[in-house]
């Protein structure tokens, strides 16, 4: 008897050991059992999330919209990439959005979304995001959740230290990661040192309509400007950019750009430069860049080529630019909500470097310089240093803030999120991330007023977190509850493309403004068919314009004859619905383009070039009503030589 008891105790112990082991191997996985994590992320059917998260899609070129805390995805907003789902970048109206000085580009690498601010608070009017590859800044309107403007950035390459806004959205700022000859010229690559420049572009945002224009470009030495953030509060008027490759290597950068013990954070007093420029300073230089604007009333984008840009030599504006030595190739530079702390995340180190804005100003006033780089004063490291968060982790990348005196820094190499105290610089908590975290986002976490309830870490490596889907996996995000002393892992959710940063905002700030329909009465599209009698077909040489309307559940006209092989047929289709969430689709057999998804009150155009004689159908692609399957029509295509006149009809036999 005693023996059998002993055996059962032994069995219990072994089982206990095993379960302990499994717990240890995946600590965070048991979060849902350890506390009420499931309840905290559960948003009951029909209820709404507390926050919107705008998550960049990286190489998808787009921006995705998620809800927090549920992690549900609501929309993919096409920005820099053609999007056959809606016809963005395929329709005649939206092709100009993707126009650049290099011609039409169907893609980009979208990085850092940032929400517009007023007085340092998120105002929820627009989200800005940068295209990294062919330098561009896009603006998404948060009434329609559509991209309404894209401006190309000349003299720049690798538009990475972008697109962050100042505290009143005076500027959205774009920096150059890959310095280039300015202007571009045919020179040897190894002439990099001294000949290449890094342009930092300050793009003004009209406070009323949000229209962007490049106010000036600051021509900095040819370093790699990696990330940036605006000063706020006391440091409002300044902008901070991290640099790496201050060695100015042009080959094998992984070694050659990692030699200097310290690189710089460039501190730019943009108010001072703005004043200089407003007084006629700077030099207009020839340039060629696209400015693309989408109009909600005409439902049409226009692309304008801009031919000059104002450039500013930092040496011409004394006291406007200083370099803050910062250890180990800093990646992110983050400014705490008060604007006092300038945090350099030295990605090749274990430490975080915290500079003090107050000390920086006093070092400038007292000329505590440590030489200069191309004439730009370098401040003495020890004169500006507030302190160091020691051995916080390996490979710090980015820091966000909760507004309660804490910083949250991601460590890529050690794959963890670390919470630390802004005053004591002590580490408070650390949580593993799955795996290799890049950015972290706290809603409003890079503004003067963070909403410190959740932190979302965006990871670069997914491996085993979800059901396997072959070699290619979606990325993985983790949601933490940060209301307590210790962070609590609540949820894993897959994210589309490769999220580089996200911007979160309380849903209450924007959801009431979300538009439901476009008013037909306000449709000013050149080819719209507004009244029922407007539907028609017109020929102009071999161009045929079909002014078509759609409403549940028919097209007007739905029978068209007199089209000939070799014609270029423009279908301009207006959705006559004025009811929320009743889009119609349009697809034409054999069209060498995407279909269209047309919102109520909207007009979109697709082109079809029929190549064969016959009778060819088109149909609605969005299951719009019980009679959706009946929503179809035919186009008769006759030989090129045919004398058949154009005719069109609806409901005639």
């Amino acid at each position: 008897m005693r023996k059998s008891i002993n055996i059962s105790i032994l069995v219990l112990l072994i089982t206990g050991l095993f379960s302990c082991n499994t717990n240890d191997s995946k600590d965070g996985d048991k979060g849902a059992l350890a506390s009420n994590a499931a309840e905290k992320v559960y948003v009951a059917p029909g209820e709404h999330d507390e926050f919107y998260a705008f998550v960049s899609g990286g190489y998808s070129g787009n921006l995705t919209v998620y809800g927090l805390p549920s992690g549900r995805m609501f929309k993919e907003i096409p920005v820099f990439s053609q999007f056959p789902t809606s016809g963005y970048g395929y329709s005649e109206e939206t092709k100009p959005m993707l126009n650049t000085s290099h011609g039409f580009i169907p893609w980009d690498d979208a990085h850092h979304p940032d929400i517009s601010q007023t007085s340092g608070k998120l105002d929820g009017r627009w989200v800005f995001i940068n295209g990294n590859n062919t330098p561009r800044i896009a603006k998404i309107d948060l009434k329609t959740f559509e991209t309404t403007e894209i401006i190309e950035v000349p003299n720049s390459a690798g538009n990475h230290s972008s697109s962050f806004v100042t505290e009143n959205t005076e500027y959205v700022v774009a920096g150059t990661r890959f310095s280039v000859p300015v202007p571009q010229q045919d020179i040897a690559i190894n002439e990099y040192k001294g000949k290449f420049k890094g342009a930092l572009s300050f793009i003004s945002v009209d406070p009323e309509d949000g229209i962007m224009s490049i106010k000036f470009q600051l021509m900095m030495p040819g370093f790699n400007y990696d990330l940036s953030h605006p000063g706020r509060g006391k440091s409002h008027g300044w902008f901070f950019f991290t640099t790496y490759n201050t060695e100015e290597a042009n080959s094998l950068l992984e070694v050659n750009a990692s030699q200097n013990d310290k690189d710089f954070i460039a501190a730019v007093n943009w108010k001072k430069i703005e004043e200089y420029v407003n007084n006629g300073g700077g030099k207009m230089m020839p340039a060629n860049y696209a400015h693309n604007v989408y109009d909600d009333d005409t439902h049409t984008a226009t692309s304008t080529m801009m031919k000059e840009v104002l450039v500013v030599d930092p040496l011409e504006v004394p006291g406007a630019v200083f370099l803050l030595p910062t250890p180990k190739s800093p990646h992110g530079v983050d400014i705490d909500p008060s604007g006092e702390y300038i945090i350099g995340n030295g990605k090749l180190s274990a430490d975080l470097t915290i500079h003090s804005f107050t000390k920086m100003i006093s070092a400038i006033e007292n000329k505590k310089f440590d030489g200069d780089a191309y004439g730009i004063p370098i401040l003495k490291f020890e004169e500006i240093l507030r302190g160091t968060v020691k051995q916080a982790g390996l490979g710090p990348l980015h820091t966000e803030f909760d507004g309660k005196g804490n910083g949250y820094t991601t460590f890529f190499i050690s794959s963890e999120l670390v919470k630390w105290d802004l005053e004591t610089l002590e580490v408070i908590d650390r949580k593993p991330n799955y795996y290799s975290v890049g950015h972290v986002m706290i809603p409003g976490g890079n503004s003067a007023h963070p909403f410190g309830k959740y932190a979302v870490s965006m990871n670069k490596i997914t491996k085993d977190r979800y059901l396997p889907t072959g070699p290619e996996l979606e990325h993985s995000a983790q949601l933490f509850d940060i209301t307590g002393e210790k962070m609590e892992l609540l949820l894993d959710f897959p994210t589309h493309g490769e999220p580089h940063y996200a911007a979160g905002i309380p849903a209450s700030i924007i959801k009431e403004n979300s538009q439901k329909i476009y008013k037909l009465a306000e449709n000013e599209h050149e080819y719209a068919a507004i009244a029922n009698g407007d539907a028609r077909v017109e020929r102009d040489g071999n161009e045929v314009h079909v002014y078509m309307t759609m409403i549940r559940s028919h097209f007007t006209p739905d029978n068209i004859e007199g089209i000939k092989v070799g014609d270029k047929v423009y279908f301009h289709i207006t959705n006559h619905e004025q009811d929320f969430d009743v889009p119609h689709g349009f697809a034409m057999i054999g069209a060498n383009s995407s279909g269209l998804l047309i919102m109520p009150g909207q007009t979109k155009t697709t082109v079809w070039e029929p190549k064969e004689v016959g009778v060819w159908p088109f149909y609605c692609t969005d299951f719009c009503s019980a009679l959706h399957q009946e929503m179809q029509g035919y186009v008769r295509v006759s030989p090129k030589s045919s004398k058949l006149e154009l005719s069109w009809s609806l409901g005639e036999d």
Partner: protein
């Protein structure tokens, strides 16, 4: 009969609320319409509760062959009702003033109320007749021809008062602010009658 006269005047004037507020309201909700669509019925015409409700209700009704919701010029009622309401309000005010001055007795107030009630019942009868026509006089080429279990064509007549389930829709039909003001006004004229009777009597005896 001063007090009664004033109450009679106020009661009659409350009818004028019908020029500002709807008489009746019909709401249509369905699974795919979490925010129901609605019609506000004024004495001068029918308006959507939200900007595009009428258009959207018509859009749905065309499936089952219902006529479109009438514009003001398409129904004589929307010309006659304002005249009747305006006329009755004016008449009530005149009677009230005469009562106030002691020229007519309280039975005139009751007479006005009875007349008004008769007109109201006629109005409701007419309204119901329109609803019946609207809900049953369907296009024979309607896209969907729904029938009751016994094979008779389904009626889409909205309820005159209350709630009814109609295919996927929940239809709620109730009086609206204008009607409540009118009922309140008519109740006041009844009160005016009783007060007037009391006020009148002593004078008469004297």
């Amino acid at each position: 009969m001063k007090k009664a006269g004033i109450i009679m005047i106020i009661g009659s004037l409350l009818l004028l609320g019908l020029f500002k507020f709807p008489l009746w309201n019909i709401m249509l909700g369905a699974p795919q319409y979490p925010e129901p669509m609605g019609m506000d019925i004024y004495i001068t015409g029918i308006q959507g509760v939200q900007e595009f409700d009428i258009q959207n209700i018509d859009g749905l009704n065309h499936y089952i062959g219902m006529k479109t919701i009438p514009k003001p010029e398409e129904m004589w009622e929307f010309n006659v009702f304002p005249i009747v309401i305006g006329g009755m309000a004016a008449l009530g005010v005149i009677i009230g003033i005469l009562g106030f001055l002691g020229k007519v007795n309280a039975w005139w107030f009751l007479g006005w109320l009875v007349f008004m009630s008769v007109l109201g019942v006629l109005g409701m009868y007419d309204f119901n007749a329109w609803l019946t026509d609207y809900g049953t006089n369907l296009d024979p080429n309607a896209i969907m021809k729904m029938t009751n279990p016994d094979g008779s064509p389904m009626s889409y007549k909205p309820p005159l008062f209350g709630h009814q389930k109609m295919l996927n829709f929940d239809v709620d039909s109730y009086p609206a602010v204008g009607a409540y003001l009118m009922f309140a006004g008519m109740s006041l004229t009844l009160i005016a009658f009783f007060i007037g009777k009391k006020e009148w009597k002593p004078k008469y005896v004297k």
